[in-house]
């Protein structure tokens, strides 16, 4: 394994982490819109708090996908073709959710607006659920042949770990979205988001313990990397505890950081467990490795230069765009509610 290959493995991890932190709350706000927003104005407020940012947040996923294609084409090819139906459903979720932002603006009747809100909620649930199932299925070892083709059976994709992991991931996104709602709104939405999180956090902790146990039994993470895996799992729980603490003590910034970093830690757990592989085959001889599934040193080198030049600029205006929208938004719900 060369230094460049290692660097790009880390970069892909960073891009997915960024995606789950940022789009995580977008998904969460989307799901939460179906739970805590009860009338048109409240729902529209939920859309508006993520309105300026969601496209840019989703770009993290597009960049992660593009970077994976560029740096580890064999990984990209095996992963996306193997989990065909799953990625199709991710796409369906992202497509429906994406257009509903714009369409709901144009909808005139109450019924049409409601329809787009439902589409928005469902899309926001579908995409992260499918992505989390893919990730938690992938780490268990799947049938990959010598060419790198993954012929997946139903139970390779849908099993205990992937289902519980998928639900826990969705739950964590929802909590993350509620924390974002608490930070960016005032009035009833902020209130309801906090109350709902107080119910959800205990469930999340149970989920995290179950996922941790299943990861121990269903993957080789704890055989190959017992120390780092343990530390990262503790980190996930610790960050969730921080989020919960912020919920009960009304420190909204800390809550958001806590739930976001929990999501990031989950991504790190997966990438740490994968390393030095990128896809785990049932037959270890067919594992896709960081060392043997990457692009040429030249392609990686050019990409590295591009990233070094562009990423600081991108991050600068990306963060600047967040500083423009720091004011809390009113829920505009009925006062007596």
């Amino acid at each position: 394994m060369t230094a460049l290959q290692f660097l790009w493995f880390i970069l892909i991890c960073v891009l997915f982490s960024g995606f789950f932190f940022l789009e995580g709350f977008d998904f969460g706000v989307g799901m939460a819109a179906g739970i805590i927003a009860r009338n048109d104005e409240e729902k529209s407020t939920m859309l508006e708090i993520i309105g300026p940012h969601w496209v840019a947040n989703e770009t993290w996923l597009v960049t992660a996908g593009g970077a994976m294609f560029a740096s580890f084409p064999l990984w990209y090819a095996s992963l996306f073709s193997g989990y065909y139906i799953m990625f199709l459903l991710v796409l369906a979720g992202l497509i429906l959710r994406g257009v509903s932002f714009e369409f709901v603006e144009h909808a005139e009747t109450h019924r049409a607006r409601n329809l787009w809100y439902i589409v928005f909620v469902v899309g926001s649930l579908l995409a992260p659920l499918m992505l989390c199932i893919i990730f938690f299925s992938m780490i268990q070892g799947i049938p990959i042949n010598a060419k790198g083709d993954a012929h997946l059976a139903f139970f390779d994709i849908i099993n205990w770990l992937s289902i519980v992991g998928g639900i826990a991931g969705v739950l964590l996104s929802l909590i993350h979205g509620l924390n974002y709602t608490r930070l960016t709104t005032t009035g009833v939405l902020r209130e309801r988001a906090r109350n709902l999180n107080k119910i959800l956090y205990p469930i999340l902790f149970v989920g995290e313990v179950v996922v941790a146990l299943l990861v121990i039994f269903q993957t080789d993470f704890f055989q190959k990397k017992p120390i780092s895996s343990t530390i990262i799992i503790l980190l996930i729980v610790l960050m969730s505890l921080m989020g919960a603490w912020g919920t009960w003590k009304d420190h909204e910034g800390w809550s958001l950081a806590g739930s976001g970093l929990s999501l990031v830690s989950v991504v790190i757990l997966i990438f740490n467990g994968l390393f030095p592989r990128v896809m785990i085959a049932n037959n270890p001889a067919n594992d896709l490795l960081v060392a043997n599934s990457s692009s040429s040193p030249m392609a990686l080198g050019i990409m590295t230069i591009v990233v070094c030049v562009l990423l600081p600029i991108v991050l600068a205006y990306f963060i600047w765009s967040y500083t423009l929208f720091t004011k809390r938004m009113a829920s505009n719900g009925k006062v007596n509610d």
Partner: protein
């Protein structure tokens, strides 16, 4: 199993055609519309003429609709190379991935960040500053076109690579060769100008429908129409010149594509005549009927009244000779190199015919708009022409891509890798049928709703940007609850 294998390939090809064609309705729409809206807002910032502010806001709404659908259908492209064409992704990753990743980092972040800022900060920045945001968005859309065309140009005309002897995959040897691919810089102007044609004629057409309905805001729609007629005229001229410039490259790189475009089965001889219409016997590889103009093909191809082109039958023999002893079995197995001639031939004629029509109509429209006596809102026949013509650039753009992509057949990467080899080994026919149906339904909904909301916005006219919306906003800010909350 074997028969399933064949249908997987055709299903995957249908999917690629369907998803890229649908995506490409909105790509030129967004590129062109973003640019025109940016120009409108800039004029407003300079001249402080309120009508340009209204134009930027109103057409900005249409731009955002197109942008949203463009983004979500673009997501499919990002994933489908891996999903349906995993062998291609393995073969081409070293070359193809980098432009895609750079596109995301350089272009997508730019457009997606600033479109969000632009959308939500109309009242917070001076017009001059606010216009910068739409310019950055517009630049983002154009940069994105450059990088995806970089990838596509390699597929048409591979440069800057070697085939790795061990892995049998393409490997990059010169990045500068890849980005200086002559195909790229000849197709880019054609594509961008085609986008401007599309967006300007959509504005012209929608304005025409609004005038036909005799709704309010006549002045606004007339102004929008006259403004876009100029952009339409300049870009329709430009797109023809750029198309000619691009053709020069195709004659060299892909003579088979050019011969199919012109429907030449036999060597044309010199001087060559140009078929206006023709019908073909694609089985026996000959022209059945034709009406042609003498000298015209020589003029089109070489800009002089002499010189001939090789026919498809000759080119087929040449290509067979060239590839019959190739190391790859699937390349040796290619039966012949004929293209879907009828489709390519007619695609070119539809595209070029519309191109000429756009110039003509724009000229007539501008002539009318200069006359003091002439009131365009009274010339209903001409408004209907303009109204119907708004769909034509969409057809023309699609035809252009049909020529480009069908002209690649049977290669996915010209001369290196066949379409048949590129498809995923794991994907089943059932999965592809399911995904094709799902995409079709999604596209039908997206396209239908998008047209419906564009129409609705047009019917509302300026009320869509200043009417009830504006009053609603005052009501919002007047709400004491809201005011307090914004602290």
């Amino acid at each position: 199993m074997f028969s399933l294998g064949i249908s997987v390939l055709s299903l995957a090809r249908i999917q690629f055609a369907m998803t890229t064609i649908f995506h490409f309705f909105f790509v030129p729409f967004s590129i062109g519309m973003g640019f025109i809206v940016a120009v409108m807002e800039t004029i407003y910032a300079i001249k402080k003429d309120e009508i340009y502010n209204k134009m930027a806001r109103f057409w900005g709404k249409i731009f955002l609709l197109s942008f949203a659908v463009g983004i979500v259908t673009g997501l499919i492209q990002e994933f489908q190379f891996g999903m349906n064409w995993s062998n291609y992704s393995r073969f081409m990753g070293d070359i193809f991935g980098a432009p895609l990743a750079i596109e995301a980092l350089l272009a997508f972040f730019l457009e997606s960040t600033f479109v969000g800022v632009w959308m939500f900060t109309w009242d917070r920045f001076k017009p001059g500053i606010h216009a910068i945001f739409i310019w950055l968005t517009s630049i983002g859309t154009m940069l994105s076109a450059i990088w995806i065309l970089t990838a596509n140009s390699f597929m048409q005309h591979p440069t800057g690579f070697t085939i790795n002897a061990k892995t049998h995959r393409v490997q990059m040897t010169s990045f500068s060769d890849i980005i200086s691919n002559p195909q790229l810089w000849r197709v880019f102007p054609h594509l961008i100008l085609g986008a401007f044609v599309l967006a300007s004629f959509v504005i012209i057409g929608m304005s025409a429908w609004a005038l036909i309905r005799k709704q309010k805001d006549t002045k606004f729609f007339k102004k929008s129409m006259y403004f876009s007629l100029w952009i339409g005229l300049v870009s329709s001229f430009g797109v023809v010149i750029a198309g000619d410039y691009q053709t020069q490259q195709i004659i060299q790189d892909q003579p088979m594509k050019f011969a199919a475009t012109e429907g030449e089965y036999e060597d044309s001889g010199s001087p060559a005549s140009w078929k206006i219409v023709a019908s073909f016997d694609t089985k026996d590889h000959k022209v059945k009927h034709e009406i042609s103009v003498p000298y015209m093909l020589s003029l089109l191809a070489y800009h002089k009244p002499e010189g001939g082109i090789k026919g498809m039958n000759t080119l087929n023999k040449e290509l067979k000779q060239k590839f019959d002893h190739n190391k790859s079995k699937s390349i040796r197995d290619i039966k012949d190199y004929y293209l879907p001639t009828t489709t390519i031939f007619w695609s070119f004629r539809i595209m070029a015919g519309f191109g000429a029509l756009f110039i003509l109509v724009a000229l007539v429209g501008i002539y009318f708009s200069r006359s003091k006596k002439f009131q365009i809102e009274k010339q209903r026949w001409f408004l209907y022409v303009l109204g119907l013509l708004m769909w034509a650039p969409i057809v023309a753009n699609t035809c252009g891509w049909l020529i480009t992509e069908l002209g690649r057949y049977p290669w996915i990467v010209y001369g290196l890798y066949t379409i048949a080899d590129a498809v995923s080994a794991t994907t089943t026919a059932g999965e592809l049928i399911f995904s094709n149906i799902l995409y079709f339904l999604l596209f039908a909904i997206l396209g239908g709703v998008m047209i419906y909301y564009c129409r609705q916005t047009m019917h509302k006219g300026l009320a869509a940007v200043e009417g009830p919306d504006a009053t609603e906003q005052t009501a919002k800010t007047a709400d004491p609850f809201s005011k307090e909350a914004f602290n």
